[in-house]
Amino acid sequence: MHIDATEKKWIYLTFLMTFAGIGVLAAYAIKDNIYPPSNVETIDSAALHLSDEFNEDAIGVRREKDGSIRVTMVAARYGFFPQGITVPVDTPVKIRIASADVLHGIHTVDTNFNTMVVPGYVSEVNTTFKKTGTFPMFCNEYCGLGHDFMWARLTVVPKEKFKL
């Protein structure tokens, strides 16, 4: 089959651009430790407030026996609960979040904490925050008329200043 030389050039260029794009994404994903959340665990969203893990007294930040931090959160129209969490810098953090109603997402600016929160499932992210400071967290899946107002705050503090 005859392919015109100019056409061939453009075909090669298209492939090159596609693989270069994938390469850039892969490089960033590896550098910043970004990966698709792979936790598949179901929960009854309607009765979330009565569950052992996500009841109103259980949510929040706590330290595990191995020194790591565990954060339990709930997304519900239109807010994240608790509204503010504080964690230590350079410490492994396991964040588990579930929705009490519809589809939500949570993205934390300047960090790799970003996951969908699908009703009926528990989303889990394991990360280590490298920078101290205050970072906004917001819902990035349209969930209703109050979606724009679904914000919370992550504060990362030096290890010695972290208290529970």
Binding site: E56, F81, G146, F149
Partner: protein, 220 residues
């Protein structure tokens, strides 16, 4: 008779209280509960609601005391949840807890259907502040306050699952309720949702929002 009733109300208020460390509500909106509430029988509900008329009026429009809400046109799931919260002592009020305890879930669903079938209370004309209108339509981002209309509707008719209608609600009841959320005296909102909002609002803003909703005409 009136003195007796007032005494009962006073005792009920003194005796109210919610146990901490327990879930703020045990109501779960699973399909069985949704089905039960959606199929409430307003005819039976009217009969069951006979004792309610002393405080709330036959059609839920009586203005007896500031802490007695207008129930006409209120959404059935909201009434159901409140009655179940009284029954399970998640919301404090002795008289209401006694009434709710004596009713079955089916009877509560019927009562809820009856009050929902009534027209919303007529609006009470009032001067509406710009600040209240802005909070209702746009909320306040820096304070993480979503617009009231996001959940309660632009027309104030409430929404799924158990968000109450606010249009035409008497202003004094609105203020009593929001202040109760603000102080934590009322705590049957799952995950503190209304308590967080009420705590972010000033007393003046609550008063202005009360006037806004009392004056809101939900239309047909």
């Amino acid at each position: 008779m009136r003195t007796m009733r007032n005494l009962c109300v006073l005792l009920a208020m003194l005796g109210s209280g919610v146990v901490s460390g327990e879930p703020s509500s045990t109501v779960v909106w699973d399909s069985a509960t949704r089905h039960l509430v959606a199929n409430g029988d307003p005819v039976n509900g009217k009969e069951v609601a006979d004792p309610c008329s002393a405080c709330h009026g036959e059609t839920g429009k009586a203005k007896v005391r500031p802490n007695f809400p207008l129930l006409a046109g209120q959404t059935a799931p909201y009434i159901y949840k409140q009655m179940m919260d009284y029954k399970e002592a998640r919301r404090g009020h002795g008289i209401m807890q006694n009434f709710a305890s004596s009713l079955s879930k089916k009877e509560i669903a019927d009562v809820a259907a009856y009050f929902q079938s009534q027209a919303l209370p007529p609006p009470v004309p009032a001067k509406v502040s710009e600040r209240a209108a802005r909070l209702v339509d746009k909320g306040d981002g820096p304070r993480l306050l979503p617009p009231c209309s996001a959940c309660h509707g632009r027309d104030g008719k409430g929404a799924v699952v158990d968000v109450p209608a606010l249009a035409g609600q008497r202003a004094d009841y609105f203020i009593v309720t929001m202040q109760a959320y603000k102080s934590g005296e009322r705590a049957n909102d799952i995950y503190n949702r209304m308590r967080l909002i009420a705590q972010s609002l000033s007393d003046d803003e609550i008063d202005e929002l009360a006037a806004y909703y009392a004056a809101l005409d939900a239309g047909d």
